[in-house]
């Protein structure tokens, strides 16, 4: 699974993009967060306030219960502030 982090999530986690072997028990975007948080302090810091975080699966905005599988591209980021 290709996982991307943007803005301050990227800064807290220390990497913008990683290719991860995610176990089959991780079936949703929300479960992916739980699994990431267990990987280390940077992830725990980044995902501390989930109300401030959005997720996109395959470059479309998604809900926390959206399905994620091995071939997907999943991105985490704060609410957008362009324009």
């Amino acid at each position: 699974m290709k996982v991307l982090y943007f803005a301050w999530l990227r800064q807290k986690i220390g990497v913008g993009e990683e290719q991860l072997d995610v176990p089959d028990t991780v079936a949703t975007a929300g479960q992916l967060v739980d699994w990431l948080v267990a990987r280390g302090q940077g992830y725990a810091d980044a995902f501390q306030d989930m109300t401030a975080i959005k997720v996109a699966v395959n470059q479309e905005f998604a809900d926390w219960d959206a399905a994620v599988t091995a071939g997907d591209e999943v991105a985490f980021f704060p609410p957008v502030t362009g324009g």
């Binding site: 991307l4 943007f6 803005a7 301050w8 990227r10 996109a56 470059q59 479309e60 905005f61 991105a75 980021f77 704060p78 609410p79 957008v80 502030t81 362009g82 324009g83």
Partner: protein, 151 residues
């Protein structure tokens, strides 16, 4: 219809002239340009950097543009959004809509920027005069501006 995500500046006049050139079916052209302000709240801003999500950005901008073209009878639409480091006074974004009719041009242009503000994956980080970096917070007023088009 065109969407561009680029580091370089753009020329407003050249872009707008190209939209109407050779199409005398256009009666009205509305454009909005967003620029970097030097004041953001209390702290002076000396520069900002725009980060984006390559791939998803273009996809979302195309979706927003397609939605505008579905809602209004438009002859032309344009979205250009820059990324990278920008200084106060620099242009950030240009959206434009051209139509036979003035109301359609205005509404579509307004819609483009309102939806872009809440749906296009860009993030701004500001440097204040002391060198501190601050990620710009999303604003509730942008959400409500986008919401008004949900009907």
């Amino acid at each position: 219809m065109a969407v561009r995500v680029q580091r370089e500046d753009f020329n407003i006049g050249r872009e707008l002239d190209a939209l109407t050139e050779g199409n005398p079916g256009i009666g009205g052209l509305c454009s909005f340009t967003g620029l970097v302000r030097d004041i953001h709240g209390d702290a002076g801003v000396s520069a900002m950097t725009l980060e984006h999500y390559p791939g998803m950005t273009e996809k979302m901008l195309l979706e927003i543009e397609a939605e505008a073209n579905q809602r209004w009878p438009l002859e032309q639409t344009l979205i250009i959004h820059r990324y990278g480091r920008l200084l106060p006074g620099d242009r950030i974004v240009l959206v434009a809509a051209a139509s036979a009719h003035r109301e359609a041009a205005f509404e579509a242009c307004h819609f483009l920027i309102d939806w872009l503000k809440t749906k296009a994956p860009f993030w701004k980080v500001e440097e204040d005069r002391s060198g501190e970096e601050n990620w710009v917070q999303a604003r509730a007023s942008d959400d409500s501006a986008a919401e008004r088009w949900n009907k």
